[in-house]
Amino acid sequence: MVSGTNGAPDAGPLPPGQASRPGPAGAGVRTRPPADLVGPRRRGDGIFRGLTLSAGIFVLAILVAIAVFLIAKSVPAIAQDKGNFFTTKTWDPDGSKVFGIAALAFGTVLSSVLALILTVPLALGVAIFIVEYAPKRIATFLGYAVDMLAAVPSVVYGLWAVYFLLKRMVPLQVFLADHFGWIPLFADPENRAGQFSQSVLAAALILGVMILPIIAAISREVISQVDPAQREGMLALGATHWEMVRMAVLPPSRPGIVGGIMLGLGRALGETIAIALVIGASFTISPHIMSSGNAIAANIAVKFAEAGSLGRNALIASGLVLFAITLVVNLTARAIIYRAGAVERSAAV
């Protein structure tokens, strides 16, 4: 922004006594421009503008249509709820008509956040290793491996978790319960750690595996885009390789990495089938991650087929809550990215 004092005095009248500048009102305006200054009418521009505009409107329209549908089905369902939809933990819309989102929303957020905590350091590590440290051939191979992980269908992850992961988690669960049981997260009041069982922890692990490639691939891309001149500038100051990564590579990558994390979180929040297979479908709010839990999307998938009419609308209402959660996540991410760019934006002064 140009400050008022040294800006051109376009606004307001000229100070008295100062000669007026030659302006567009001069004599030249009446002369018709020569043919080579008259551009062809750029019809392509107009068409392209129209196309992109309608694409933009189309996306918005879909978003609005989804929101309208969700709200239209949800409001009557919530009105018929015999409990409080936002605080009730149980889910019995077709029987007692008491149902609520509390346990489901809690489980959704808990399992997704846990998945992030488990995955983000690993994904960043993989990305940094691929870009900064790995020899070229290993980097290429690892890059492909990560992309392949992203291509595995989620039901395969779910089955793998059920038939492979769950029983191998028992020693880990026992270890956690024995040594960290004093932390509520790892407490084991139901004595489930020692047995093969579905749990929030298992769901978080499998979610973590599923979102790892998204976060790693985006981070890798962003990190590799950092201007080599920044890297050299930091090295020339006497930075070690890691200091260079920490001070010159990661800071400019941060908005992109946060974006990748949010995409991963979005996928985790909305994941359905893998979660349905491992989380255990209990309607409780408990911090004990080795107990079973539940999640909105998984609950919809499991219950939808046999639900009655109120049951279906109640499930749609839970979908609306999921929609709201992801919206909040996205807005938060934008706020984080925006704040991170504060110094850069000050360049525009």
């Binding site: 050299e232 100051l237 400019p252 002064v349």
Partner: protein
């Protein structure tokens, strides 16, 4: 503390391609040495070999030795990171760190050196920015981004960043090539001042600049297209620009070859 640099039969390679052939040159402490020569003759490559930045490029390596005072910086037991802390560098294209404020740009090198005390950082930042003739223009916006400065200011910021850690030697690769005449003069003044405390090596395409700022001038050229660059001669700047020994040098500075 300014230090002396000597390169002995230094050759620089990019993979199997030899970019600089067998350059031997002495750079005296507290002096300004200018490197001139046609584009592609290996000036930047040679300069980057002096603080072990050359090897940052995959496949790049050197042969021969570079003595800093009496130590060969290419000995296997010498840490390139320590070398770069001693021999600072200013690049052709200003490269302030975009996510950092002006203050943090200048403090970056100090923080790498483990300086944490706020007062110490404040002092060094102020001293370096003043030394880079930039203080008046930025003192009210130290918290703002360095990328918001003009090209000339950015380059002086990069100089401030480089001298904040008080290196023994300062390497400058065409520091004025993107600047207007006034910023160029400001940087030339700065070089003359810095000479009192630093050893300075500057690559430049501007012959007047070399004549104005340097004590010693080295002339690099190419034997032919695609061949390695080599050092034709090095002498006092006066001698090079008035009465060079080699015909090729004379041709170059009089503009008969370029």
């Amino acid at each position: 503390m300014a230090k002396r640099i000597e390169t002995i039969r230094l050759s620089c390679f990019y993979g199997s391609y030899k970019a600089v052939d067998d350059a031997s040159l002495v750079i005296e402490p507290k002096s300004v040495t200018a490197l001139i020569g046609p584009s592609g003759c290996g000036k930047s490559t040679y300069l980057r070999a002096l603080n072990r930045m050359h090897e940052v490029i995959p496949g790049a390596r050197v042969e021969g030795s570079v003595l800093l005072d009496d130590v060969d910086i290419y000995r296997p037991d010498v840490d390139p990171v320590a070398v770069r802390r001693t021999i600072g560098m200013v690049f052709q294209r200003p490269n302030p760190f975009p996510t950092m404020s002006i203050y943090d740009n200048v403090a970056a090198g100090l923080k790498l050196n483990g300086v944490r005390r706020k007062s110490e950082l404040d002092d060094a930042v102020e001293r370096s920015i003043k030394a880079a003739n930039l203080w008046g223009e930025v003192k009210d916006r130290l918290g703002k981004a360095g990328a918001g400065l003009s090209g000339g200011q950015q380059q002086r910021l990069c100089i401030a960043r480089a001298i904040a850690v008080e290196p023994a030697v300062l390497l400058m690769d065409e520091p004025c090539s993107a600047l207007d005449p006034i910023s160029t003069l400001a940087i030339e003044d700065l070089i003359s001042q810095l000479k009192d405390s630093y050893t300075i090596v500057i690559v430049t395409h501007n012959m007047q600049q070399a004549a104005r700022v340097s004590d010693t001038t080295g002339f690099f050229t190419l034997r032919g297209p695609g061949e390695a660059g080599y050092l034709v001669e090095v002498d006092t700047t006066t001698k090079i620009f008035t009465n060079p020994t080699e015909q090729r040098t004379e041709d170059y500075i009089t503009g008969r070859f370029g």
